[in-house]
Amino acid sequence: MEFRRKHLLELQGMSREELTLILDTAETFREVLERPIPKVPTLRAVTVANVFFEPSTRTRLSFELAEKRLSADLVSFSAATSSVLKGETLKDTARNIEAMKVDMVVIRHSAAGAPHFLSRCLAASVINAGDGCHEHPTQGLLDMMTLRHKFGRLEGLKVAIVGDIEHSRVARSNLHGLRTMGAEVLLCGPSTLMPVEAERWGVAVTHDLDEAIAWADALNVLRIQRERQAAGLFPSLREYHARFGVTRRRLERAGKEVTILHPGPINRGVEIESDLADSEFSVILDQVTNGVAVRMAVLYLLAGAQGALQGS
């Protein structure tokens, strides 16, 4: 099939065929990454702007690496060094980016919908690198790619997403993508961090981590943000860890092997026990590698859909 989208704003609403195409394309790029010279000329003459209004070393580096591996030209700026601090609006920023004649914009923003807004005022393709509590589509894709690697399939897989679901864009992209691919999703976390009417996503909800572990083939453990405690959403990190921290003891009690994913960076000893994050169950480093491959695939497919690949 051909990829026809101009932007990657969210996984919600994407078809199984589209998601499969991205994942398959990512597999071929993963092979490229394993070559002695892991670079292809595919996006030569394509310019990508990485616009990060929110600090995120991991995602930004992953995108930049993907762009370099595809031989794209790139400009990057982050809020700390940009005019955003001077009160420049998102729209003005967008206009400046446009004036630089870039073909694609990768945007990370603390406000849900910021990439949608940008896609309405730019001619360039927009890739959502995380918008507020809404979605983080490339993270969802790399998680799916990692699971598909590990299990050889997504259909019928049981994935529990554990932690602060309410404020997690990773959870939203994961559950939309996984469900479209035929996986089952269970959400597990404290009731104060579970969004209202979450069951209407077609997922099960539990507040019992042991129950989630007993059910799941894989756990996607979310990072817990300390400021949620300040906001009164849970009593203490200690209490959080006791109820929702993933530990080797809990896995042993369940008596089964469970694959563990984490979008990073990890709060060791809070949402997950430190040594478990580095254990044989963890595929966290695999996620990082797949992140580059997935982002290469997305950039490549969007460039093709936009006609930017012609003549290169």
Binding site: Q12, T89, L90, K91, H109, S110, A111, A112, G113, A114, H116, F117, C121, D131, G132, C133, H134, E135, E166, H167, R169, R172, P195, V196, E197, A198, R200, W201
Partner: protein, 432 residues
């Protein structure tokens, strides 16, 4: 937009008087001489030497009143002024509006009301200003209500914000009742709605946007109803938006509590599904709710629990709305689409009869504010709206008369054209 002219000798020909109690339409020509109704009935034009306005197809009703608008003057004249607000009101069919006091400075002192009156002098549209409940709208001490009533305040409200302190609300209801004036509350329990930008529900869950739960409104409505019952004061709930709030008000009215309320055209027509796609023109406070809430609001209008339709006209500059959702201000403009939405959604939709719908925009607001009702009778000052309820038009935001363009109804096909207005010794024809 053409200017209103003195109504020295004008004949409105071909319209039908709509009886708002019975719904009966009676063809009547209306002759206005020096702003008063001189003749009602068949008037021959053969020997007539005044101006003749053809209003064939129109129903004639008391001048429409929008009891909840934000005109932004003083303070944000770039967004709206009394003058541009009056123009938008005329285009929307209104001869009266009630500007809310959340201006800069707020209308908490006589000087601000005097200034507004001065601005509105000579306009066809009449201003009935609402003054602040509390000094500086800070919610701490009640404003000098007696003097404000003398200066023309018809009600008190800290709209934009609720009166969060229960003791202040109690005193406001008690004190305002000495003047027979209602206190209008924007009902929201702020610790529950804090940070929210839309209705809390599955749509907010899905979009990852922080929500404002319906109970934040309902708890405040309940508190206000208790206080109104206890004090015997007159309470008016602004922009009711939830099914639960409608039910609370219905029960309180049955118990004899002095409470009235209003609903906006947008809460009667849109749900939180409109926020999908993150258009900032769907960001309003109270937020767009669910289909079940819309149904309950319509039922509330039908059974008389809700007496008033008001627009909550809230102009915001383009650059303020052209931002990400979280940063955008709340509110949309409404004066020019209010009537059209009501006729299309409620009258065409068979929720209300034409007379019931127009009652909520004429009799309802005047009753809620304790104002004298407009009479259409020989000898009375003419205060009339001539509306063709069947004509269709399409909303084009570039052609609105408000200074602002923040409407989610761009491109909507609405019903009801305003043909002419008459008030304060002036008349205005949409056609020219």
């Amino acid at each position: 937009m053409n200017q209103p002219k003195p109504a020295q000798k004008v004949l409105f020909k071909g319209g039908s008087l709509l009886d708002l109690d019975t719904g009966k339409e009676t063809p009547e020509d209306i002759l206005i001489v020096d702003g008063r109704i001189a003749e009602l009935g068949k008037v021959e034009i053969a020997s007539f030497d005044g101006e003749v306005i053809d209003v064939s197809g129109a129903v004639v009703v008391p001048g429409l009143m929008d009891m909840h608008v934000h005109l932004r003057e003083p303070g944000r004249e770039d967004e709206e002024t009394v003058e541009t607000g009056c123009r938008a009101a005329m285009a929307g069919g209104f001869t009266a509006v009630c500007p809310m006091p959340n201006t800069e400075p707020p209308a908490d002192k006589r000087e601000v009301l005097d200034f507004l009156k001065e601005r509105a002098a000579g306009q066809l549209v009449e201003l009935f200003p609402i003054a602040a409940v509390s000094k500086g709208r800070k919610g701490e001490e009640i404003a000098e209500m007696g003097e404000l009533v003398e200066a023309g305040a018809v009600a008190f409200s800290d709209d934009g914000d609720p009166v969060h302190n229960a003791a202040v609300m109690r005193r406001a209801l008690e004190y305002a009742s000495m003047f027979g004036r209602p206190v209008i509350d924007h009902c929201q329990e702020l610790t529950l709605s804090a940070g929210g930008v839309m209705n809390e529900g599955f749509v907010s869950t899905n979009l990852g946007l922080p929500g404002m739960p319906a109970i934040a409104e309902e708890i405040m409505v309940a508190r206000d109803l208790f206080l109104a019952k206890y004090t015997g004061g007159k309470l008016h709930i602004a922009h009711v938006s939830t099914a639960g709030a409608v039910e609370l008000i219905r029960r309180a009215r049955a118990e004899g509590v002095q409470v009235t309320c209003e609903v906006t055209p947008h809460h009667l027509t849109l749900t939180d599904e409109a926020v999908v796609g993150f258009d900032t023109n769907t960001k309003m406070n109270p937020p767009l709710r669910t289909a079940a809430d819309v149904e309950a609001l319509r039922a509330g209008l039908r059974d008389g629990t809700i007496q008033v339709i008001a627009s909550d006209h809230a102009p915001h500059a383009i650059e303020e709305k052209e931002v990400e959702c979280a940063a955008a201000p709340f509110g949309i403009i409404g004066l020019e689409t209010s009537l059209g939405l009501v006729l299309r959604e409620l009258v065409d939709g068979k929720v209300l009869s034409l007379a019931q719908a127009l009652r909520a925009m004429t009799v309802g607001p005047r009753a809620a504010l304790g104002l004298e009702q407009v009479k259409i009778a020989k000898g009375a000052m003419a205060n009339l709206s001539f509306i063709d309820p069947r004509a269709e038009w399409v909303v084009d935001r570039s052609r609105l008369h408000s200074k602002c363009r923040n409407t989610p109804f761009h491109g909507w096909k609405l019903r009801g054209l305003v043909l002419a207005l008459c008030n304060k010794g002036l008349f205005w024809c949409a056609g020219g």
